[in-house]
């Protein structure tokens, strides 16, 4: 969307007219030949400028393609101007925006309009260095007539750029915990229709004929079938704490704040499990707007999750909305909560979920050296808060909720290994 003004004269044109016309007239009237020599070029410029003044109003069509990118990727704003007559050059200026790098850095791009050309286009490449929804513009577009005498301005507004978080590298080697889903890549403890060999057993009514193991059947004289373990999926429920953002964020190329780590880690975990064929749900607490994604699987679902993660804004005003009922997360789900654990609300919630019998892990995303600040009072306050935090974490760990510091690949391995070990053991849950 663009709003344009009409052609307007510039101070340069006023100068040419004032010196040229007035100077030449004064030189003739007062008989000052030197004044004539000095004013004559300005007179030529003034007449030239007036004679080539553009009459038609140009039209501007701007677009940003693509409008959704990942952190560190680039997009381009392109403005196409038409109906250009007697235009010398076109200049576009993209204002400086946080987390948006333009090329050139100044955001100013000028393009020359050849004589006779009625169209021109200007393009400003932009790179987003931080996840989130960014406003682009307003892009200021100026068409200039010869001698810079007249200018036409247009503002191209209303662009938004969604920058999806670039998930950190994450991998998990251990097998998943018990799985109750119907399809997926995780081997179930229960026999069923799957790919992984479980054993050979006598034929039962209902077994598929293609499962019959003919060699064993011929040897034994009795029908036997090859049994397999069922292939099942897991439900991984991601809880993201967006109550506070602690630390300095330097974008994709710099330091990561707690929310940066949280969002990128959530993206990485979601991507890992979704690519394995598991179901992943997301709930962001403390964030504005709708911040829930129901469980589903597939690459399209990863995009949905990253979209919601990109829309996160910190909001400490709604810690009371954290309560969830038992039905909010199915009993077989693996709950992973990502939080800097600055607010005790996140730990309270983790304990609450664990008390319903769910497998819960808390991923600590607080940056290191967050307490190192210039202000000694603030540093002392941070030290006190970190001591309290350590005590809170110990209390939660004693209840059986592991708190794991995020270190990228393999961060969840000990937890997942423990979950797989526990899956066959009896458990007690408060109902």
């Amino acid at each position: 969307m663009s709003s344009a003004s009409e052609w307007r004269s510039s101070p340069a044109h006023f100068r040419a007219v004032a010196v040229g016309i007035v100077g030449v007239a004064a030189a003739l009237l007062f008989r000052v030949p030197a004044l004539l020599v000095m004013s004559a070029p300005f007179g030529v410029v003034a007449i030239w400028s007036a004679a080539t003044r553009p009459r038609a109003e140009p039209s501007l069509v701007g677009e940003i393609v693509p409008t959704t990118i990942r952190e560190g990727e680039a997009t381009t704003w392109t403005g196409r101007l038409s109906n250009l007559t007697d235009v010398d050059h076109v200049v576009a200026l993209a204002p400086t925006r946080a987390w948006i790098e333009t090329r050139p850095r100044s955001g100013v791009v000028a393009t020359s309009v050849r004589k006779g050309d009625a169209t021109a286009s200007v393009a400003i490449p932009m790179r987003s260095t931080h996840w989130g929804r960014h406003e682009i513009g307003p892009i200021n577009v100026v068409a200039v007539s010869s001698w810079g005498a007249f200018r036409w301005r247009a503002l191209d507004i209303g662009y938004g750029l969604t920058t999806l978080p670039l998930p950190e590298v994450f991998d998990a080697a251990p097998p998943m915990h018990r799985a109750n889903g119907l399809v997926g890549l995780t081997r179930s403890a229960q026999p069923g229709d799957g790919n992984e060999f479980a054993g050979i057993r006598p034929f039962q009514i209902g077994d598929r004929l293609r499962r019959i193991n003919w060699r064993r059947s011929l040897r034994s004289g009795e029908l036997h079938v090859t049994s397999t373990y069922a292939d099942q999926d897991n439900h991984v429920a991601l809880f993201v704490d967006a109550l506070a953002d602690v630390g300095t964020s330097g974008g994709i190329d710099g330091e990561a704040s707690s929310l940066d780590t949280t969002v990128r880690a959530a993206g990485a975990i979601a991507e890992h499990f979704l690519l394995r064929g598991d179901r992943v749900s997301l709930r962001v607490f403390g964030s504005f707007g709708d911040a829930r994604v129901p469980p589903a699987s597939g690459r399209g679902h990863l995009r949905r999750i990253l979209d919601v993660l990109a829309s996160i804004e910190t909001d400490a005003s709604r810690p009371r909305s954290l309560r969830i009922g038992n039905g909010a997360v199915p009993g077989d789900a693996l709950v992973i909560m990502l939080s800097p654990l600055i607010s005790p609300a996140a730990l309270d919630r983790a304990v609450s979920v664990a008390s319903h019998g769910l497998s819960v892990a808390v991923v600590d995303t607080l940056p290191e050296n967050v307490h190192v600040v210039d202000d000694p009072t603030a540093e002392l306050a941070w030290r006190i808060r970190l001591l309290e935090r350590r005590r809170e974490i110990r209390t939660v760990q004693q209840v059986g909720v592991p708190v794991i510091a995020w270190h990228g690949p393999g961060s969840l391995d000990p937890f997942l290994r423990e979950m797989a070990r526990r899956s066959s053991a009896p458990r007690m849950a408060r109902r």
Partner: protein
């Protein structure tokens, strides 16, 4: 000046491209050259004028989209008209060309924000236009010198004709621009 505007100045300073620095240098050098030419023509320095022109030209280089440049031109034209009587001096067309170059570069700078690069094609076309304007200054000087050396007597008809041309030009310029002028 508060801290924010100082920061804006520093940012602008750092964002200025090399090409813009060169163009801004021309903006300062051209009027100073005109003053030096006037000094050469009169054989006397004009320190106050040199200082004033340098300051105003620097302001014009920093803020080209203002009327400061008009002050520079008027100051130099006034100084020459008041101090130099000779018209057959070669310094006169040089002053005219310096003023035109100053005007052109300030006008060009006013269209490109700090940090922007003027396309080479645009630079080329502006250079050609300025050369044509400079040719007009040289042509007018040659005409004036011819009249001066011929010691031609005042011709009322010719003057009236010239004034009529000026009025016609003024009407043309007004009809196409004055109605929109700020």
């Amino acid at each position: 000046m508060n801290r924010l505007s100082l920061q804006q100045w520093v940012d602008e300073f750092l964002a200025t491209s090399r090409q813009q620095w060169l163009l801004r240098l021309v903006v300062v050098v051209a009027p100073v050259g005109a003053v030096l030419a006037a000094a050469a023509a009169t054989g006397a320095w004009w320190p106050f004028g040199l200082l004033m022109v340098t300051v105003l030209a620097t302001v014009s280089a920093i803020r080209p989209d203002t009327h400061t440049a008009l002050g520079v031109v008027v100051l130099i034209v006034w100084h020459w008209s008041a101090r130099v009587d000779a018209v057959d001096t070669p310094w006169l067309p040089l002053v005219g060309i310096c003023l035109l170059v100053f005007h052109s570069v300030v006008a060009l700078l006013a269209t490109i924000p700090t940090g922007g690069e003027v396309p080479n094609a645009t630079l080329g076309s502006w250079l050609r236009r300025t050369a044509l304007g400079g040719g007009a200054a040289l042509g007018m000087w040659a005409l004036v010198v011819v009249f001066d050396r011929g010691d031609a007597a005042g011709n009322g008809v010719l003057t009236a004709l010239a004034l009529a041309v000026v009025v016609g030009a003024a009407v043309l310029v007004r009809s196409r621009s004055v109605d929109q002028m700020q």
